[in-house]
Symmetry: C2
């Protein structure tokens, strides 16, 4: 792999002007934030989302850009629909997925259908109907499981601790095989804990940070398991969206897998302290590890993203305190749209 031209950081945004882009999971958390960015850059944006209740898709996420994007409600498992929708799209940001670890353990077959079958459907659609598309897949750091060493780089073993992690790993590997064997340009970004506006906060089955945000906003107790010393790295959603924009605009990443996280690690305890300070409400409550959580816990985890930084010049630009402040401000204004039982 070689790096893109030194000027890439100045020019990648221009790449998207009039570019025909599709985002699967486009009404979800990261997808919708990416859509806002793409609209600003002048792209022709098609958002595909199933709006399955509780999965994160929310029409309010595109408030303000409704008239500047096309929305197509569809399930990425549905092959004939995907065969049609991929046609003519230059870049596909492939973010649709089931993201709850907990749900995957309760209903592994649905997780398999959404995170594996749908990825094959999407990639087959490209292979057969749009082989020149570029696909950027939303992977996850979760596939590493409990790390042997920190920070975790891409040479670390993939050893997921739950069904969702296994299926997300397979979904990622399909992209790499389609890149290498069938020439459908593809790469994967292994995202760490992403947070920010437009994240689902209605239940606690999609990771802890959105849920903590809600508890803080409502002045409720935030439960921390054990002593809260386990470390994580966090990336504000605008920086995550920027990672997708960069990956979509250069061929040097094709066939690669890249951590997107870091650069520093924060304990659960310090995260909650910071969140409570910024929220001015809520309270930390330390409790024993529930057995079912302990069994799939991975201890401390943070990533080394230097491979992606070298390839694309990406940097995290929004610090954690600043990001939490922006996120709280968003939900203070719009929480009604995220707490209704129907999105």
């Amino acid at each position: 792999m070689t790096a893109p031209p030194a000027t890439f950081s100045d020019t990648y945004r221009e790449f998207y002007r009039h570019r025909r882009v599709m985002i699967t999971g486009g009404l979800g958390f990261i997808g919708s934030n990416l859509a806002h960015r793409l609209v600003d850059l002048g792209a022709d944006v098609l958002l595909v989302d199933s709006l399955i209740p509780d999965y994160g898709g929310n029409l309010f996420n595109i408030a303000g850009i409704e008239s500047r994007v096309n929305v197509n409600i569809a399930d990425v498992r549905q092959a004939t629909t995907m065969n049609y929708l991929v046609q003519g799209r230059d870049v596909i940001f492939n973010l649709a997925g089931q993201v709850s670890h907990i749900d995957s353990m309760r209903d592994p077959h649905t997780d398999l259908a959404i995170n594996c079958q749908s990825q094959l459907t999407m990639l087959e659609a490209c292979r057969q109907h749009n082989p020149t598309a570029k696909v950027v897949y939303a992977g996850t750091r979760q596939i590493y499981g409990k790390p042997d060493r920190l920070p975790v780089d891409e040479t670390h073993l993939v050893r997921p601790t739950d069904i969702n992690g296994i299926n997300k790993a397979a979904g990622e590997q399909y992209h790499i095989v389609y890149n290498n064997v069938f020439g459908v340009a593809a790469c994967s970004l292994r995202l760490t804990n992403i947070y920010g506006p437009r994240q689902l906060i209605r239940h606690n089955r999609q990771g802890f940070i959105g849920w903590f945000m809600r508890l803080a906003l409502e002045g409720r107790d935030i439960q921390i398991y054990g002593d809260g010393s386990q470390l994580r790295d966090f990336v504000y959603v605008d920086d995550a969206a920027d990672a997708f924009l960069r990956a979509g605009a250069t061929d040097v990443v094709n066939g690669g897998v890249f951590n997107v996280g870091g650069p520093d690690a924060v304990s659960h305890r310090d995260l909650v302290t910071m969140l409570l300070e910024e929220a001015g409400a809520g309270r930390a409550q330390y409790i024993e590890w529930p057995e079912e959580k302990r069994r799939i816990d991975i201890g401390s985890f943070y990533t080394d993203s230097s491979k992606f930084v070298a390839a694309t010049g990406w940097q995290r630009t929004v610090g954690l305190r600043d990001g939490l402040r922006r996120t709280l401000a968003y939900y203070r204004e719009h929480s009604a749209h995220y707490l209704e039982s129907k999105s």
Copy 2:
């Protein structure tokens, strides 16, 4: 992980006396050889096989033990059937699968259904209906992809080069997660190239060695890609069956993944030379790499099995020349049962 008692190598066979055992893919190559061993050891043996044409299942594989095993034709994807069949089984040797790399690239969805969906179905059946079962999964060295170093041990990255390898890796990981989270005792044996009697030789889409065997028997040309210098390790099927017996009889392997291969590496060229010598017929023909093969080729590959040897005392006992001789003798006598269009 600790080793089993020093006497394990003397006692593990006794473990199977009156033991209630199930083999999925039990009419296939390795499954049926394992069945012959288990019958000899006095086990109560249930063979489950779908007999999907071209997959390797063959009723002739149990010739001689038909009256001493129970055969149940069923598809492991079918949940209600598996929920019933797993009940009361002490050990489940889980060998059912789609094993053709080539078919997986032509029809990835079927590969997904057979190698992922069916594994979840089997494991859910155990979790709900027989949580004290011990499951030994037939993994494959193919999940490693192109190796970074030789020999390959279990700390090597899993980086499959085709859809079959991705799905087999996911199937393996499900077993480990069910072991760790749901307490369904399970482990995986990552098998290298296994050869011997009862292997499918009717077509060339399930690996090269069965196919080479057939060509030699018929006195035809054996095509070798490039100079044939790429190395592989080979294990005779009786030794592979012994690996399953050992893994099924001890808890020290639970939650583990183990290479089963080695100990030495042989080039394609030397393998073919030896095979032609033993067959007294056929001819080697060196040809250029076909592009579609080259793209998913992994170069030389051989495994370090010392982890499994330490855990169970397993050793390869049949050398390659001896194994080829025995295999040729088997097919000379029984080839009609392996060349008919219907098994």
